[in-house]
């Protein structure tokens, strides 16, 4: 029976986090940029070959460079870069990007112009993520089941409970002035010195730089206690404060 056969999917959409190189444009002159690019490419031709880049135009946002965005993209392609999009700039830049077939990425922290609104908490565990300030990120509301908060590039300080089913992540330390009932992952981009602190330890999972421990493996005596968690060698050291 043809109708009973499972249909093979021909494509899938998946959200993935990738690292992309950001090329910050600091001079509004195409000629100056071209010269500098040539110099850089000569230094390390293999490194730049087919390198996907995002053009950060924030520093030149007020110049006329947007009028020649397509030309600039062509210039990059001629040097075997793969320009994928821009970030920064106003509506004029976004229109120019659309015309040049480039994507528009949000700035990853509040720009001075304030046209990108920062989300404090993200629901639904989707790719929506909150972004850390230089001084780290401070969350004052409870982190609920199903929510995910990521402090990129810094510490995460939470002055409320983290519920079971919630997930908090940071590139640096995680401090929780309350109960930790969900998952906490510190040092997610390789910082082995990152630590996790909490006032009442009931975590489902804790991890530092990918080394993790699940609730089942955690000593019963530490449950509900104030603890700090550090990475010692390749195991987690969880001890009462």
């Amino acid at each position: 029976m043809a109708g009973a056969q499972a249909v093979q999917p021909v494509l899938e959409l998946k959200g993935r986090m990738m690292t992309l190189t950001v090329l910050r444009l600091l001079d509004p002159s195409v000629e100056v940029l071209a010269r500098e690019l040539d110099r850089r490419v000569q230094e390390a031709p293999d490194f730049f070959r087919f390198l996907p880049v995002i053009l950060d135009v924030e520093a030149v946002a007020n110049s006329d460079l947007y009028l020649d965005l397509a030309g600039l993209a062509g210039l990059l392609q001629a040097r075997q870069f793969v320009p994928v999009g821009i970030r920064g700039g106003g509506a004029n830049w976004q229109e120019a990007a659309a015309a040049a077939g480039l994507a528009v990425f949000p700035m990853d922290r509040d720009s001075a112009a304030g046209d990108t609104k920062r989300r404090k908490t993200a629901d639904e565990g989707t790719a929506a993520k909150a972004i850390a300030d230089e001084a780290g990120m401070v969350v004052t509301q409870p982190v609920r089941s199903g929510q995910q908060i990521y402090a990129r590039g810094g510490d995460l300080v939470i002055m409320a409970p983290v519920s079971p089913g919630a997930e908090v992540l940071a590139d640096g330390h995680i401090h929780i002035y309350g109960s930790l009932g969900g998952r906490a992952l510190a040092g997610v981009r390789g910082d082995t010195s990152a630590r996790i602190f909490c006032q009442a330890f009931r975590a489902e999972l804790v991890s530092i730089n990918g080394t993790y421990s699940v609730s089942e493996q955690i000593e019963e005596a530490l449950r509900g206690k104030a603890v700090q968690i550090a990475l010692h060698g390749d195991s987690l050291d969880i001890r009462a404060l």
Binding site: T121, Q141, P142, S145, S163, A166
Partner: protein
């Protein structure tokens, strides 16, 4: 402008509809024009609990589709002045609820009423999300057990991020906890979470604690909001909760195991 109050929980069977009926009747008795709106399209129960199932002609979906006016669909409660019910459709499903339709009906109701109580379906799908979206206040109905508490926690996260108030950057939805089916005996035996446990996990204000009570089931079967049963413990607990909802301070009752006093023992009361 009416205050829009959503009664929600995430988990099913915890007492959302019982609470909607009780709170709606309580607010109306306090003199506020109140309408109960059943968002549980396809599994309508509110009309049964309110004892008006035989008087449903037009429902919420009919109004959304323009097949009936609000005045035709609103059912006036026979016991309490100022109380109206807008029943859900039993023959349709949640897809019949459109964003614009719900917004239009709620806006229209807002002109005539002081309180709109939205009885949310269980889950976090379309019907539940729409019941929450327009809310100014939320009553989170939770049973003292871990799965119910976790689901409530999830719903609180949605209320903080996926409502009209969140979308417009307005002050957040006011969230209050109503703990239902509470049994101090079972808490003592360790079979149930205590009020303190639940408060600690959910970290929101406690509107009230409704004791586990036969009166709730009896009232549901009879189609009477339990808050109208003045003699029952659950009825009194709901009366306290509504008074607190309206800003009155009342001590929480029914948290301890009832000990028979000296007189009780003497007179066998």
């Amino acid at each position: 402008m009416a205050k829009i109050v959503v009664v929600t929980s995430g988990k099913g069977g915890v007492g959302k509809t019982t609470t909607s009926a009780a709170v709606g009747a309580g607010l109306a008795k306090a003199g506020h024009r109140t309408v109960l709106v059943d968002f549980d399209v396809g599994l309508r129960n509110l009309d049964l609990i309110m004892g008006c199932e035989r008087r449903v002609v037009y429902d919420f979906i009919n109004v959304i589709n323009g097949e009936a006016s609000l005045n035709q669909a609103l059912i006036r409660d026979k016991r309490v002045d100022n109380l109206f019910i807008l029943a859900a459709s039993q023959t349709r499903d949640k897809d019949a609820l459109t964003d614009e339709g719900v917004e239009r009906v709620l806006t229209e109701l807002s002109k005539d009423f002081d309180y709109i109580i939205c009885d949310s379906p269980a889950g976090i799908e379309r019907g539940a999300l729409l019941a929450m979206y327009f809310a100014d206040e939320a009553i989170i109905v939770t049973n003292p057990e871990v799965s119910s508490v976790r689901d409530s926690d999830r719903v609180l996260g949605i209320l903080a991020s996926k409502t009209r108030r969140a979308a417009n950057g307005e002050p957040p939805v006011r969230e209050q906890l109503l703990l239902t089916r509470y049994s101090p005996q079972r808490v003592l035996k360790g079979e149930m979470l205590s009020v303190e446990d639940v408060k600690e996990i959910l970290a929101i204000d406690l509107l009230g604690v409704i004791p586990e009570s036969q009166a709730v089931l009896n009232a549901s079967n009879a189609g009477v909001p339990v808050i109208l049963e003045d003699e029952s413990d659950a009825g009194q607990a709901y009366q306290d909760a509504v008074a607190r909802f309206l800003g009155e301070e009342r001590p929480h009752r029914f948290l301890q195991i009832e000990k028979k006093g000296l007189f009780g023992r003497l007179f066998g009361g």
